[in-house]
C-alpha cells in the first residue's frame, strides 16, 4: 500500500533514529511512504503561541499539498499531527476565508503513526512477521499530549486512555503494563527555556513508570523521547535519583520483533542504552 508521509523537521535531525526505524519497518511491511512534496515546518508551539495566523497557514500549506496528492497522510510527530489537524479544521470552518489556503476537508485523512500502525489489517501483517516475540518486555506505553488532545481536533475516542501502542505491543507478544500517566505532559519545549519546570514534569513520569514496575517507556513522539531519554542523566544528577529507563520507539520494537537487524543501529543512537535492559530480560 501507498501512503503520503509528512516526516516533520526533527526527524531530519535529532530524531534520525526514529526516522530510520519508520522507513525500514514500513518497507518490511510493504508500505510505500511517499514524502509530501516540498513540505514545510508545521509551525509547532512557537507559531500557535505568538502568531495564530501563521500557525494555521504554515500547517495549512502542507494539508493543501496533501489534498492535491489525493492520498491519506501519515504523520509520525504528534505535534505536527495536531497542528495539521488544527489547520484542517480551521480552514474548513467558519473562519476559513481569513487565510491564504483553501481546503476541501474531505479528500484525505490525516493519521498519526500509532493509529495507522494499529489498524487491524496492518496489525495482522505485523503479527505474521513476528519472529522474536517480545514476551519478557516490561514496558509502559507513553503517548504524551498531542496525538490525543483535544479530541475535537485529533478525532481520538480513547483520549484519556489511548490503546493504539498497547495493541501493537500485544501483537508483538508483549504485555504492556497499564498505568495512569499515558497522556501526562513531558514539558515539551520547556526543556530549553524552563528546564526546571520540564525536569519536574519528566521526573513525575519516571516515578510513575517505576511504581508501575516497568523497565522502559515505549513512545511514538520524538519530543517525549528526547526529553525522557537525552535528559535522564542530567535529571538523575540534579535530583539525586538513579533512574535507568530506556525510551524506545514503537517502530524500533516492531523492527526488533520482526527480526530486522538494523535495530542495533537505532538503539545505538539513544542516550540511555536500551541494550542492558533488553539483555536483562533476555531479548538481546
Amino acid at each position: 500500500m501507498k501512503i503520503s508521509y509528512y516526516p516533520g523537521c526533527s526527524l531530519e535531525g535529532t530524531a534520525s533514529d526514529y526516522e530510520a526505524s519508520i522507513r525500514t519497518v514500513c518497507a518490511a511491511l510493504d508500505i510505500e511512504l511517499v514524502d509530501l512534496p516540498d513540505w514545510n515546518c508545521c509551525g509547532a508551539t512557537a507559531a500557535h503561541s505568538i502568531n495564530h495566523k501563521a500557525a494555521i497557514e504554515l500547517a495549512g500549506r502542507n494539508v493543501a499539498i496533501a489534498e492535491k496528492q489525493e492520498m491519506d497522510m501519515m504523520v509520525p510527530c504528534p505535534l505536527c499531527f495536531n497542528r495539521l489537524k488544527t489547520a484542517e479544521k480551521v480552514l474548513t470552518g467558519p473562519e476559513k476565508n481569513n487565510y491564504r489556503y483553501k481546503l476541501s476537508g474531505d479528500r484525505i485523512k490525516i493519521l498519526n503513526i500509532a493509529d495507522f500502525l494499529a489498524d487491524k489489517k496492518i496489525l495482522k501483517q505485523i503479527h505474521s512477521k513476528v519472529v522474536t516475540p517480545l514476551t519478557p518486555l516490561k514496558a509502559v506505553c507513553y503517548y504524551g499530549c498531542q496525538s490525543s488532545r483535544p479530541p475535537k481536533i485529533t478525532g481520538a475516542r480513547d483520549y484519556e486512555n489511548p490503546m493504539s501502542m498497547d495493541r501493537i505491543l500485544k501483537t508483538l507478544g508483549a504485555n504492556p503494563i497499564q498505568w495512569s500517566f499515558k497522556t501526562d505532559c513531558c514539558g515539551a519545549s520547556h526543556i530549553l527555556p524552563l528546564q526546571d519546570v520540564a525536569f519536574t514534569m519528566i521526573e513525575k513520569l519516571y516515578k510513575g513508570a517505576v511504581e508501575a514496575k516497568a523497565d522502559c517507556f515505549v513512545v511514538f513522539c520524538q519530543m517525549c523521547q528526547l526529553n525522557l531519554d537525552a535528559y535522564q542523566a542530567r535529571i538523575n544528577l540534579k535530583l539525586g535519583t538513579n533512574y535507568y529507563l530506556p525510551v524506545l520507539y514503537i517502530t524500533e520494537l516492531i523492527g526488533m520483533a520482526m527480526g530486522l537487524t538494523e535495530y542495533d543501529n537505532w538503539f545505538g543512537r539513544h542516550f540511555v542504552d536500551p541494550v542492558r535492559m533488553l539483555r536483562d530480560c533476555g531479548l538481546a
Partner: protein, 189 residues
Amino acid sequence: MKHIDPTCLKPSSALAKSLFDATGISVSDCFQCRKCTNGCPATFAMDIFPDQIIRLVQLGLEERVLNCSTIWICSACETCTTRCPNEIDIAGVMDFLKERAVNAGIKLPQSRTYAFHRSFLNDIRHRGRIFEGRLMMDYMIRSGELTRKLWQNDMLPDMGMGWNMLKKGRMPLLPKGIKDKQEIKKILS
C-alpha cells in the same frame, strides 16, 4: 494570587469580547468548577491558576493576565481544553493572551520562552524548515543564555549534549530547506 479589593473592581467585558471576536472562545460559559486547574500538570510553576485566568478575563482585568507567568508556563498540553465541561478552549485562551501580551509590548516575565518562540519562527522564515543546530545557537544568543552560561562557566552540559548528538548522527551539519521559500516569507511577513 495577590488580593484584589472587590470594592475597587471595575469589571469590563472588553477583553472577553476581543477574545470572542478573534477566536470564538466564550469565557462567559465558565462556572468556575476548577476542573482545568485540577488537571493541569504545570500549576506547580504558575503564579495564577488557569481557572483564575478565565475569571480575570471575564472581569476584564487585562493588565493582570497579560503580565502573569502562567500564560508562558502553560505547555499547551490541552488537558484543560479537553476536560472543560463547558467546552471552553482554555489553552486557546492562553495562546490568545500570549500573542496579545507580545503585541502590547509588555515586559514578559518568561522572556526565555518568548526568545525561543522568536528564534523558532525566525528559523522557519529562513528555509521553511527547522535546522535544530542553528535554532539552538540563535536561541542561546537571543535569550542571553550563552552569555550567562559562559559567565557562570556552565556550558559543559550543553556542549556534552551537542557533541553526543553529533557523534550519534543526530545532528546534521547542513540544513535542508524547501523550494518555495517565498511562500513561507509571505506567511511570516
